[in-house]
């Protein structure tokens, strides 16, 4: 049984607000659905909103990291937004640092980070240097 997670298309990006408690196989299904949407819409950005997610364990943490690297291979940058402070502290205890993941406090910040990430990529292609904040 998979509880559908809404995937919204907003401009060049897609936004995934996770509102249900995901178990392992539903997390995998969601990952596939996200990749499908990126392929269909040619999205350049992916925002995963985890503000309603009460716990991120090693499996869900890995799914988030993997989804971001897969999206990257498809040409989309990923920002995970809204991680709760309890979740963050627990992730560190768990030993999961998620250092390669772009994160932001909320969706709004997530969008501005995405803008910088995608513009710095096109900037680099054109040989234009952009501000350093855009890299992480």
């Amino acid at each position: 049984m998979y509880e559908e997670v809404t995937i919204l298309k907003i401009g060049d990006s897609i936004v995934v607000p996770i509102q249900v408690e995901l178990h392992d196989s539903s997390a995998k299904t969601l990952q596939e659905n996200i990749l499908q949407k990126i392929e269909r819409f040619g999205s350049q950005g992916l925002i995963i909103d985890v503000s309603a997610v009460l716990i991120i364990d090693s499996f869900l943490g890995r799914v988030l990291i993997d989804t971001a690297s897969m999206a990257k291979l498809m040409g989309a940058e990923t920002v995970v937004v809204g991680m709760r402070k309890e979740v963050v502290l627990t992730l560190l205890h768990l030993g999961l640092t998620m250092k390669n993941l772009h994160t932001a406090l909320n969706i709004e910040d997530g969008f501005s980070l995405l803008n910088r990430l995608t513009s710095s990529i096109s900037g680099n292609l054109l040989g234009v240097s952009h501000d350093k904040k855009a890299t992480t």
Partner: protein, 148 residues
């Protein structure tokens, strides 16, 4: 007119004990929810709840992944020296762990995972005990006490 069954007509559960068979990932979610409910009623902080429920998630998943879902978890409210706490026992009839110390090392995995489950769960709770017999199964007990 047919009377609707009363909503609170559920069979009375034993006050402080709860057994949940862990056969699949949905049971893991149920176990997580039960632990959260009990911790909430015992007065644990949100951070403590998040920490322990994460450990519970790792240990219950181990039953599904490594013991083929042949196992159960038992949640109990406990008390010692006027301190309240929660105890969760994870029992499985899987193939057991040959080298427990190795399995507890960060990054050790036999299932192509990150290898943070068992070591992470140990780091996340105040008390952690593991007993494993090859061919028989594994039992993990975690305990957490309400801080005052």
């Amino acid at each position: 007119m047919i009377k609707k069954p009363q909503l609170n007509n559920k069979p009375v559960k034993p006050d402080n004990s709860n057994l949940i068979p862990i056969a699949n990932f949905e049971n893991v979610i149920l176990g997580r929810q039960r632990v959260r409910e009990m911790m909430n009623s015992l007065g644990f902080s949100l951070l403590d709840q998040t920490r322990i429920v994460t450990a519970v998630s790792e240990l219950a998943r181990n039953i599904v992944v490594h013991a083929g879902g042949c196992g159960e978890m038992i949640i109990s409210a406990i008390e010692k020296n006027n301190k309240k706490g929660i105890e969760c026992i994870f029992k499985d009839q899987g193939k057991g762990i040959a080298d427990v110390n190795m399995a507890l090392q960060k990054g050790f995995s036999t299932s192509n995972s990150l290898g943070l489950g068992l070591s992470g769960a140990k780091n996340l709770c105040q008390e952690f005990e593991i007993n494993s017999v090859v061919g028989k199964g594994t039992q993990v007990t975690i305990r957490e006490w309400v801080k005052r």
